[in-house]
Symmetry: C2
Subunit: 228 residues, 2 copies
């Protein structure tokens, strides 16, 4: 029963940045180029073995910091991957606890990437090492689902935002255009937004009211160990 | 970096049964009495070390089968618990991938418990071994959250059910009485229910229409490996 199983922690880090061709906001993730076999030269999710005295979330936060120099605003456990056939190239069996993080555009720009770190458009990735393509696909599916019923979109935005800014996050995540009037009605009905007294001015448009998310609604599910 | 970390899988199994005092539907879970140190004699979640060739979900299904003789209708990964201080009594560090399952009342009755297995009212548990009290608390919190936006309540019911039956599941999970008319409106607005042409007859009440859940809405999140 005491199989030699290694525990690793990997992190899918999402940011919204303009798509290189369309210039519309798109989801990007940073990847790390593997410098060792197996899969040497392939891109992989940031991560590594769980250190002896390190908590799971602490390990994920370290991945994020080492890859992007960022401390997490939104960091949540996504899923544990542990099928016995995940890495047939290696003798060991690896159970990966995967976290996901969302960072704001200004954070993503500030976090300079190292020589073996590069940001990619999440829907246009090369084939990744191990089962990491599958993991990213799952993270995208969960994000697209979750944006419909939670305030997860807030993780990509500043403290306050206009409805148009929020709609553009939803559009980027869902990869489809949303009708502004319908979106407004849906958000107002959700009870997740609080209108502020402030307005975004400037530009060609008339001033737009700023909203914030209802902070009584939990943003990240940090599990039961929030205090740690 | 290669710390001796053991991977275990544990399963929180929920069923709805009448509360022993109030006779109203309540959440119950089966626990296993520990026959070894540490925590000998204490009740714990069913589970154990991940076997060398066993997938995570397969291990959880085995927990369920061995504890209740049931095969899972609803089995989903809940969370991975891996803080370095989870089991200070033992020398080893254990990362537990926890699954949760929901079984229907007739299944829960059919699954005979062994001599060291006993069903408890989930909100009235004794102090459990290790951090299992915390894990159950988290599972209850997630269930109470999730019943508000998903069709998870279906896991406790048969293929078809009346609105009153569905409301009693919600009441048991949320531990509060719900107004029947409001509940009906809310469920009809959710788009998750499909009215059938059949009615529940008999008893003192007038015939009640039977509903089923929209099967195009995914019940359990089986991760990306649904095919396995």
């Amino acid at each position: 029963m005491d199989a030699p199983i290694t525990v690793a922690v990997s992190t899918v880090i999402f940011a919204l940045r303009p798509h290189p061709t369309t210039r519309r906001p798109a989801l990007w993730i940073p990847l790390v180029r593997r410098i060792r076999e197996p899969h040497r030269g392939r891109w992989a999710l940031p991560g590594g073995p769980l250190a002896a005295e390190e908590g799971l979330a602490a390990s994920a936060a370290r991945n994020l910091r080492e890859t992007t120099r960022l401390t997490p605003q939104y960091l949540e456990q996504l899923y544990a991957f542990g099928g016995p056939d995940r890495a047939p190239e290696t003798a060991e069996r690896i159970v990966s606890v995967v976290y996901w993080a969302m960072v704001r555009p200004e954070e993503a720009d500030a976090g300079a990437a190292g020589v073996n770190v590069q940001w990619f458009v999440a829907d246009e990735l090369p084939e990744l090492a191990f089962d990491h393509s599958l993991i990213v696909e799952y993270a995208l599916w969960r994000l697209r689902n979750k944006v419909e019923y939670s305030r997860i979109a807030a993780a990509f935005l500043g403290e306050t935002f206009t409805l148009a800014e929020l709609r553009r996050v939803h559009e980027a995540v869902l990869q489809r255009t949303l009708d502004p009037a319908n979106f407004r009605r849906q958000m107002e009905a959700s009870g997740r937004l609080v209108a502020t007294d402030a307005f975004r001015t400037g530009g060609r448009h008339r001033p737009a009211r700023l909203y914030r998310h209802d902070r009584s609604i939990h943003l990240a599910d940090n599990g039961p160990l929030t205090g740690q």
